[in-house]
């Protein structure tokens, strides 16, 4: 993917740097621990490659730095830019509160509307199909919100934008990891 080459390079750099830094903390890690650290450093590298411009990256970093065990790792990887997680957390908390309030208001409005609409007679077939479709869409958006890091606090428009960005960065991550994995496999063969 030509337009993503710079992103790939940046991700790879950060990832490898992170891996090197956390290799000194422990020796003889089990395979699962290794996998966890690899994945974690990859994710954080991906997120920091965005430099806090997207919400999912900030959410990812703040989620990772919440757990005590991974906090050291995150700090190591991020290094001098350790301000970003803190800022991200506070930012997220603020937006979370605002969005929770918004959600409550929306939900109550929706209930009121539903009660009103029950009185009004609507063409049954159309109402049913539309409600079914709406229900499906709502369910899907719920699932999507669970998938995207920090998605529960976004409204629909932001969610779609974030999925766009998230998908592109995931693709970059997969490409880089795949090439590194194949390279290391080939290296370890002879």
């Amino acid at each position: 993917m030509c337009p993503h080459s710079s992103l790939k390079q940046e991700f790879l750099k950060k990832w490898i740097m992170g891996l090197q830094r956390c290799s000194f903390s422990k020796k003889n890690m089990s395979i699962l621990e290794r996998k966890k650290t690899i994945k974690l450093s990859a994710d954080i590298a991906m997120a920091s490659a965005r430099n806090g411009t997207t919400r999912w990256s900030r959410a990812l970093i703040s989620n990772a730095s919440k757990d005590g065990s991974d906090n050291r790792l995150v700090q190591q990887i991020l290094g001098p830019e350790s301000n970003t997680p803190v800022a991200a957390i506070t930012n997220k908390a603020r937006t979370r509160r605002a969005l929770v309030c918004k959600k409550i208001v929306k939900r109550s409005r929706r209930q009121i509307r539903r009660r009103r609409r029950k009185c009004v007679a609507a063409a049954p077939v159309k109402a049913v199909t539309s409600s079914i479709a709406k229900h499906l869409v709502r369910k899907r958006t719920q699932v999507l919100k669970t998938l995207i890091p920090g998605g529960e606090f976004m409204d629909e428009i932001c969610l779609i934008e974030e999925t766009l960005d998230y998908i592109t960065s995931l693709r970059v991550q997969v490409d880089v990891m795949r090439s590194v994995a194949s390279a290391s496999v080939r290296a370890s063969e002879p």
Partner: protein
């Protein structure tokens, strides 16, 4: 993305232009159209007029509202048969005409301005030029709309349309009583447009929001492979969810694979690098060079060797000097990288690096 104001303007322009068109000489054409429409299939039996109402509004709108009237009328009988159900018009042409225009125009005011933003409007406006192409254009535009499974939107619009039809028919009937058939109910269009759109700031905001969401969904559809053919929000979202989940699973799997392959977490990039010297042609390659250089800072002996081959250390040292010198980065057995064999790859690397820098 379009701004709210922009979309509103385009919409109002649409209605204004439609009204303008209708106001103009088109008005007469419409009556002729409708007359012909009505009279043409009267050769068939006559039965309820409600078949027209049950037509999905956009199709009917296309049928009646496309300014390319004469060809349209010539084409209309075959198109009419294409649509679901046959058109059965009662013989009372005046009543039919009025009612047809009301229902269809309100449908048009709702649907055409909302569902079809630019492409469909372009379609409509492009019709006057093309005569022969009007039929395929119309059928094309009608068919995706027919197959459009955004049931929610259509049903909502139908509800609105019905409400507005009821509300507006009163007004329009009074006006129609004043004028005879040729009064081409442009006022109706205006009235309906205003009633439909401008009264509710809520609905306006909702419509703008809907358009934003739809625009972004289109982008997503282009990004995710295989989503272009699917229409309908729920199915597209399904595909997107599957795609994201598969990507996340791939990341997990690859990280597991990496963990399994390498006994140490800082996998031997040098060995990786050498083995891949010829094969890695993409842009990952130059950045792989970087970490390999760090240990060379310490290993002077090796450094000499590499300098001969790369001629790039001096370039890279300032770049990477800022980075903390890797603390005791152990370059084990693989440290003596045999670059002699990979002379051409060295030049390749050089090129890559130059490009990068």
């Amino acid at each position: 993305m379009e701004s709210n104001a922009g979309t509103k303007e385009t919409r109002s322009n649409l209605t204004a232009s439609d009204g303008g068109e209708v106001t103009a000489f088109e008005s007469l054409q419409f009556t002729d159209e409708i007359h012909r429409l009505i009279l043409a299939p009267t050769t068939d039996n006559s039965s309820s007029f409600t078949a027209l109402l049950e037509l999905p509004p956009p199709q009917a709108v296309e049928l009646l509202h496309s300014p390319d009237s004469p060809k349209l009328i010539a084409a209309s009988p075959p198109n009419v048969e294409d649509f679901q159900g046959s058109f059965r018009f009662p013989s009372n042409s005046g009543l039919i005409e009025r009612d047809a225009r009301f229902s269809l125009f309100s449908g048009e005011a709702n649907n055409s301005n909302e569902k079809r933003n630019s492409p469909e409007s372009k379609n409509v406006s492009a019709n006057p030029e093309k005569n022969v192409k009007s039929e395929p254009a119309e059928t094309e535009s009608s068919q995706p709309l027919v197959s459009d499974p955004t049931v929610e939107k259509r049903s909502i619009k139908r509800k609105d349309r019905e409400n507005k039809v009821k509300g507006s028919t009163k007004k329009s009937k009074t006006v129609a009583n004043e004028n005879s058939e040729d009064a081409e109910k442009l006022p109706y269009v205006h009235v309906r447009a205003r009633r439909g759109q401008a009264t509710d700031s809520h609905s306006l905001a909702e419509r703008a929001r809907r358009e934003k969401i739809n625009a972004r969904m289109k982008l997503l559809q282009e990004l995710v492979p295989g989503c272009n053919k699917i229409s309908g929000t729920a199915l597209v979202l399904d595909e997107i969810i599957n795609h994201v989940q598969s990507l996340q699973r791939q990341v997990e799997f690859l990280s597991m694979r990496l963990a399994a392959v390498n006994p140490r977490i800082d996998f031997n990039l040098d060995s990786v690098f050498t083995s891949e010297s010829g094969s890695l042609m993409d842009s990952n390659f130059p950045s792989l060079v970087m970490p390999a250089i760090w240990p060379e800072v310490q290993g002077n002996g090796h450094r000499q060797q590499y300098q001969h081959q790369w001629h790039l250390d001096t370039l890279q040292q300032p770049v990477w000097g800022r980075e903390e010198v890797c603390n005791n980065y152990i370059t084990p057995e693989n440290s003596l990288l045999t670059y002699d064999s990979s002379a051409n790859s060295a030049t390749l690397q050089a090129n890559h690096l130059k490009m990068e820098l």
